[in-house]
């Protein structure tokens, strides 16, 4: 039996829930909707928060919070073939229960933890590399194009850091973002065509200050581009304020 879901985390867990209900042994695969299939008639499972929560709750109770953390982060890495790996992971989890996380040398556990690590690493790196610009109405606006879907995972960090500000983090690859306003956080869709940003009066001044600081702080006798690039991959450079390319 093959299952299809809408591409969201809860959708995936709902499909897992149904697969379990129908008999997990007969399950071949779970796919996002619209992927090419030649031979079978897949069953579409609509996203159902109730089903998803039951899976998550069971996982947390039987295997501990870290097991669900890895599951969520691995899903957000958005790697091809993630559903198969995660399904194997869940089957092992409900088999081993309490000892599950110690089974590091089991391939599915390791694979999922690697995927989760990708997300975690990118999230941590972008917590630092994200740059807000102040718009003319006082709102802070940041733009990113991350490989993993880390923007929703980054939001809580900035909520506890800037509780008194209004801000948006925009994922331009996924055309979505998080908006924080009046002390509430919301996930928003952002249209592909954007109007020009109108920056605040002081914004350019502070941009120049930061660029000057970035240039001066480097010791030129110690120049080392290899190390810089390995810590700060070039794919993130376009969204920085500092001109890393020419300094």
């Amino acid at each position: 039996m093959n299952y299809e879901y809408d591409g969201t985390f809860f959708g995936f867990l709902s499909a897992v829930f149904d697969a379990w209900h129908d008999g997990i042994e007969k399950t071949e695969n779970i796919r996002t909707q619209g992927e090419l299939s030649l031979f079978d008639q897949p069953r579409f499972v609509p996203s159902d928060p109730g089903k998803a929560r039951r899976i998550l709750e069971a996982l947390r109770k039987q295997c501990g919070g870290r097991a669900s953390h890895f599951l969520y982060y691995a899903f957000m890495a958005e790697l091809p073939g993630r559903e198969e790996a995660l399904l194997l992971y869940l089957r092992l989890a409900f088999h081993y229960k309490k000892e599950f996380l110690h089974h590091l040398s089991d391939e599915p556990v390791w694979a999922v933890r690697q995927m989760a690590r990708r997300t975690g690493n990118e999230r941590h790196k972008l917590l630092g590399l994200l740059r807000f610009r102040e718009l003319s109405d006082g709102m802070l606006y940041a733009r990113l194009a991350p490989s993993c879907a880390v923007v929703p995972l980054m939001a809580p960090h900035f909520v506890s850091r800037f509780p008194g500000e209004r801000w948006v983090i925009h994922d331009i690859r996924r055309h979505m973002g998080v908006l924080y306003e009046n002390h509430t956080l919301s996930l928003i869709e952002i249209p592909r065509t954007l109007q020009e940003l109108s920056l605040s009066r002081d914004e350019q001044g502070f941009n120049h200050l930061w660029q000057a600081y970035y240039k001066t702080i480097a010791i030129k006798e110690r120049r080392n581009d290899t190390v810089r690039r390995s810590f700060m991959p070039e794919k993130y450079w376009p969204w920085l304020i500092e001109d890393a390319k020419h300094s």
Binding site: E165, F206, H208, A212, R223, V227, L240, S247
Partner: protein, 418 residues
């Protein structure tokens, strides 16, 4: 705002501060308070990397580069002709907050030349810290310098506001201090350090009784040593670090390769900074702090300096063939840490995984353990996978890997400086 004036000051004062290597923002979990801005992430967060590959997580500037001292190794010494500038506490606080809001930085690292007297300078530092904490309600990271020669009372007051305090030793021996910084004494440096340690210890006692007592320098204190400005051996430096960790409970010792930009009597004639030597010292420092090594195990009197071709852990392993190879399924955590190529993460992972399974060579690989170097020093289920058993042979193989190290490429041009 006078943008040009501020920009010039910022450039002068960050240029003068860049030789201080400390830039970490870890170790403190200050929470955001109601109506305030910012918090401190315990893991520390790097915000960018400058073209020398060093991470930038704090706004690192001097309050002023005016200085009454004349230390030979220092760019800010009073006899040197250079542009001087000074930022007011208000200007510093404003730039910090505006940079912080835009997520450029994790906080402020404020150091200073000695302006008029150590006490006057520290009082200005305290004013800046108070402004940030009490007026702006800033809860981000603040790291400040303890100025040698400051009154203990002022150091205690400064400690109330900051996350980290550091007093730089700079020159690793009294002889070096006499030669290059005759106005400073060992006592004037150690006194503020002891004051901070006493403050931390007292406050920890009080906090056991009530969690409401605010922390004192929660991220601890650090120091910096300059490498290569004096003829001190690596062993002298490493033993100094070890005793600082043990007796003054420092969080970290930073090492800074001396960048030869000044000339004068007493200063060595280097062409480039001794970067590889600095790198080896950091490796050894990690061995002290996380790998349960002692300074005497790493370097001895017959061998007072590092082997620049091979890292200190591999050197130790090659000197102790009687210990290796060790069996991965049985060896203690302590011994796993001594295997070249196995770090704290890998050792922990092995210990966790072997509770569930009898580990084979392949399962190590699945655990993500890098075996390129480790394979010469371990057995799995009794089998040895290194192939080479002679010490010379193993050394040759390890050297081949080391040749591709990314710190090497800079050092190719250093000639005979080290």
């Amino acid at each position: 705002m006078d943008w040009d004036g501020i920009q010039e000051k910022l450039q002068i004062l960050s240029d003068a501060a860049k030789y201080d290597v400390s830039c970490s923002s870890s170790g403190s979990r200050r929470a955001n308070q109601k109506g305030g801005i910012g918090n401190a992430a315990c893991s520390g967060i790097c915000h960018t990397w400058s073209s020398d590959g060093r991470c930038v997580s704090l706004l690192k500037i001097l309050m002023t580069n005016y200085c009454i001292y004349d230390c030979a190794y220092c760019v800010n010494r009073c006899s040197r002709e250079t542009k001087r500038a000074m930022l007011t506490p208000e200007e510093i606080a404003d730039i910090t907050i505006q940079f912080y809001r835009r997520n450029y930085i994790e906080g402020l690292f404020l150091s200073s030349g000695v302006y008029q007297s150590p006490d006057t300078t520290t009082e200005l530092l305290i004013r800046t810290a108070r402004l940030l904490r009490d007026v702006y309600h800033f809860n981000g990271y603040i790291h400040m310098k303890g100025i040698p020669g400051t009154d203990e009372r002022l150091i205690r007051e400064l400690g109330q506001y900051v996350d980290r305090l550091s007093v730089n030793i700079e020159l690793p021996s009294s002889a070096g201090l006499r030669l290059l910084a005759p106005q400073k004494t060992k006592q004037s440096i150690l006194l503020p350090m002891r004051a901070v340690r006493a403050g931390i210890a007292e406050r920890q006692e009080e906090r056991k009784k009530s969690r409401k007592v605010p922390a004192f320098v929660p991220a601890g204190q650090t120091t910096q040593l300059i490498i290569g400005a004096t003829p001190d051996s690596d062993r002298t430096i490493l033993r100094l670090s070890e005793s600082l960790y043990r007796h003054v409970s420092l969080k970290r010792v930073y090492y800074s390769a001396y960048v030869p930009m000044l000339h004068g009597p007493g200063l060595p004639e280097l062409r480039t900074p001794p970067l590889l030597r600095e790198h080896r010292l950091y490796q050894a420092d990690w061995l002290l702090r996380f790998y349960q090594f002692t300074a005497d195990e790493i370097l001895s009197d017959d061998m007072p300096d590092f082997d620049l071709h091979l890292d200190p852990k591999a050197c130790w392993a090659l000197r102790h063939p009687e210990v290796f190879p060790i069996e991965i399924n049985r060896a203690s955590y302590h011994m796993l840490l001594r295997v070249p190529g196995i770090g704290v993460q890998s050792a922990r992972r092995i210990c966790a995984a072997r509770r569930q399974a009898w580990l084979s060579y392949d399962s190590l690989r699945r655990l993500g353990i890098v075996l390129k170097r480790a394979k010469y020093f371990i057995t799995c289920r009794g089998r040895y996978y290194g192939g080479h058993t002679g010490q010379g042979e193993i050394r040759r193989h390890l050297l081949q890997d080391e040749g591709r190290s990314r710190y090497e490429e800079v050092d190719l041009f250093s000639g005979g400086t080290i």
